[in-house]
């Protein structure tokens, strides 16, 4: 062997020895799945629905076999809900494939905003989707017309009161900025109260709510576009199907049940040994309890202040569930020339782009692009359990 070969061999031996020592002494086993984010408030419950090109009964398997449904994808509450429903009918639930049978209901992933177009092409039989897309499809393809869509069920009929979107805060941010989180919750709660009041067509804020809802959910970025009468009908219909609520009552128990559900469906791939303890860590109702217990005094203390700090916010695109956050963020709903976040002294900026799914918002957390995110409970649970 010449000198060069000897040097290369010795170099490799040193590299492997050091590398092996490094690997052996490092903990490469299963990392802990202690959540790095916390759920601090609910955004909404219910607010989704199943549509199909034929009328189906959610208690009778007749007619379901062989149909193809669009879903927002595995890991969303809508997908899991349809899956549970199909199983309860005694049928299988599988990803769409060329050869089909009559004992399986097939699914395919489609972004909610695209479902209407795909349904129009008639290559899929139906879908499950959140508002306003559920109402938009029913409005665009009226029941009984050729290619019309039938409302099979609202999510409230399948799982009454099921939680959907949540306000999620990064733990490291929360620990260092407790006051900002409190201010955020105060503004957010006030916005939820305003939305619930403005849902009433007789309320003076109703027209502004419709405007916010249209701009948030249906306008695809065209500043010169105006809502059509069909859009307004869709929004009115959609708002009726969504419960806007910030309370976290019963969420820990729900998360505990979700963990086993997602572990069985393969979405959670890291074992969660104590689901109840995990739920206890993920759901932080302390801030919300503190705020609701002393709402009047806290409002007095923090309202009409300025310069409290900046929060980077991550949100979903075209989602009517998040309208309270949007109302507090970009509109003067109190009539004093400021947004609600500004009223509470907050400078809320957008962290990252609008996301088409909760996984995208969790990616923003992972990339340290946001401090607070608004997203579905299932992706929050799945990504937290899987270690983000």
């Amino acid at each position: 062997m010449n000198n060069v070969t000897v040097a290369v061999v010795v170099g490799f031996l040193i590299f492997f020895s050091l590398g092996t020592a490094f690997i052996v002494t490092s903990d490469t086993g299963e990392q802990s799945n202690d959540p790095v984010v916390s759920v601090v408030a609910m955004v909404n419950s219910e607010g989704s629905g199943i549509f199909c090109d034929r009328m189906l009964d959610i208690n009778d398997p007749e007619g379901w076999g062989g149909l193809v449904f669009m879903t927002p994808g595995p890991g969303t509450i809508q997908h899991e809900m349809l899956k549970s429903l199909v199983f309860s009918l005694g049928l299988y639930f599988a990803l769409d494939r060329p050869t089909k049978n009559n004992w399986t209901v097939y699914w395919t992933q489609v972004a909610p905003g695209d479902m209407s177009e795909y349904y129009g092409k008639r290559t899929m039989n139906g879908g499950i989707v959140w508002e306003p897309w559920y109402s938009a499809i029913l409005t665009k393809y009226p029941e009984g017309s050729i290619g019309g869509a039938y409302s099979v069920a609202r999510s409230a009929e399948i799982e009454p009161g099921h939680p959907c979107c949540m306000v999620v805060v990064k733990n490291s941010f929360m620990e260092q900025n407790e006051e900002l989180v409190i201010r955020f919750l105060l503004a957010y709660i006030e916005a939820v109260e305003w939305v619930n009041k403005a849902k009433d067509p007789g309320d003076p804020g109703h027209a502004l709510l419709l405007k916010i809802a249209w701009e948030t959910a249906l306008n695809k970025g065209d500043p010169s576009a105006l809502p059509t009468p069909g859009d307004i009908a869709t929004i009115e219909q959609a708002l009726l199907g969504i419960n806007y609520d910030y309370s976290l009552d019963g969420i820990k128990e729900y998360v505990t049940s979700l963990i086993s559900r997602f572990a069985n469906s393969g979405s959670i791939t890291k074992p969660v040994n104590d689901p109840a303890a995990f739920a206890g860590m993920l759901i932080n109702d302390g801030f919300l309890n503190d705020v609701t217990d002393s709402m009047a005094s806290l409002r007095e203390e923090y309202r009409n202040t300025s310069g409290a700090g900046t929060i980077r916010l991550g949100v979903l695109a075209n989602d009517l569930h998040q309208i309270a956050v949007r109302a507090a963020w970009g509109y003067d709903i109190t009539g004093d020339g400021k947004t609600l976040f500004e009223v509470y002294g907050l400078n809320v900026v957008q962290g990252g782009d609008f996301q088409t799914g909760g996984g995208g918002v969790m990616n923003l957390f992972a990339g340290n692009a946001i401090d607070i995110g608004v997203l579905g409970l299932p992706p929050t649970v799945i990504r937290s359990a899987n270690g983000l």
Binding site: I23, P74, L95, E117, N386, G387
Partner: protein
């Protein structure tokens, strides 16, 4: 016992190649393992976790979609194969014609020069939405394979020495004979080169297209879905499978290249 390496011995050369390749891959594995430890992010899992995910996938399939690992691989391969056949059927004859005809070359050049620099992946959302979710991804791969294959074929025709063409005509070959006895065999090495480049680009395209149009499974969808759920070991399994399939397809193309070159006397 001491074995002296003999460069003329086929077995020795093969042994040397295997040994160096094994050490090289081992280095890659070590670097990956160390990076996963240093960065400490779940998005880069350590090799043992990826191995466990692979075994789980092999034994239980992809629990989320109900597809087996093979179903995902076959779904991607099927799209890839259809796109390749169409690209080959269109690009090679068109390339030969363009190479032979200056007028056609002049006519098609502006069109091709405008379209060629566009990354095929940019077409993915357009084609998937404008056509459909079955043919959209296939057409994206088609575009990826088509351009390198076409440009290499044209280049191959233009590189044929005029002496060869003149000689064949002098010896009494008609146009058809000149085409399949001289022109086509001379172009084969260039076509094969285009195929190899196209196959590499094609694999990139199929994965991107399946991420845009998650219809009927496939490795691209498998990766994007598990990334959405933060199941990073499975994401890595998908990435490694793509690498293996890419190596296999390009290896097959190289093998075919050698056989064809040998048969046509173009070694």
């Amino acid at each position: 016992m001491r074995i002296k390496y003999d460069n003329e011995n086929k077995l020795h050369r093969f042994g040397r190649y295997i040994l160096i390749s094994a050490v090289s891959l081992l280095v890659l594995l070590y670097v990956w393992w160390m990076v996963s430890i240093i960065l400490g992010t779940p998005a880069i899992p350590a090799p043992p976790r990826v191995w466990d995910a692979f075994i789980h996938l092999l034994n239980h399939g992809d629990v989320v979609t109900g597809y087996s690992m093979w179903d995902h691989i076959v779904a991607s391969l099927k799209r890839f194969a259809i796109a390749f056949v169409i690209a080959f059927a269109v690009a090679v004859p068109l390339g030969l014609l363009i190479g032979m005809s200056k007028t056609l070359d002049d006519f098609t050049r502006p069109i091709l020069e405008v379209l060629r620099p566009i990354a095929p992946i940019a077409w993915a959302p357009v084609l998937v939405f404008a056509i459909d979710r079955t043919w959209g991804p296939i057409l994206v791969v088609f575009i990826g394979i088509f351009f390198p294959l076409l440009t290499n074929t044209v280049f191959g025709v233009k590189k044929i020495e005029s002496n060869l063409m003149d000689a064949s005509r002098t010896l009494g070959a008609n146009k058809a004979q000149t085409f399949y006895k001289v022109m086509f065999p001379c172009t084969v090495p260039y076509i094969m080169n285009g195929i190899k480049i196209g196959l590499g680009i094609g694999w990139m395209c199929i994965i991107a297209a399946e991420m845009v149009a998650p219809y009927g499974g496939g490795l691209g969808y498998f990766i994007s879905m598990h990334a959405f759920n933060g199941s990073w070991p499975y994401v890595f399994v998908g990435i490694i499978l793509i690498s293996i399939l890419g190596l296999l397809t390009i290896g097959l193309a190289e093998r075919a290249h050698k056989i064809i070159a040998k048969r046509t006397g173009m070694e």
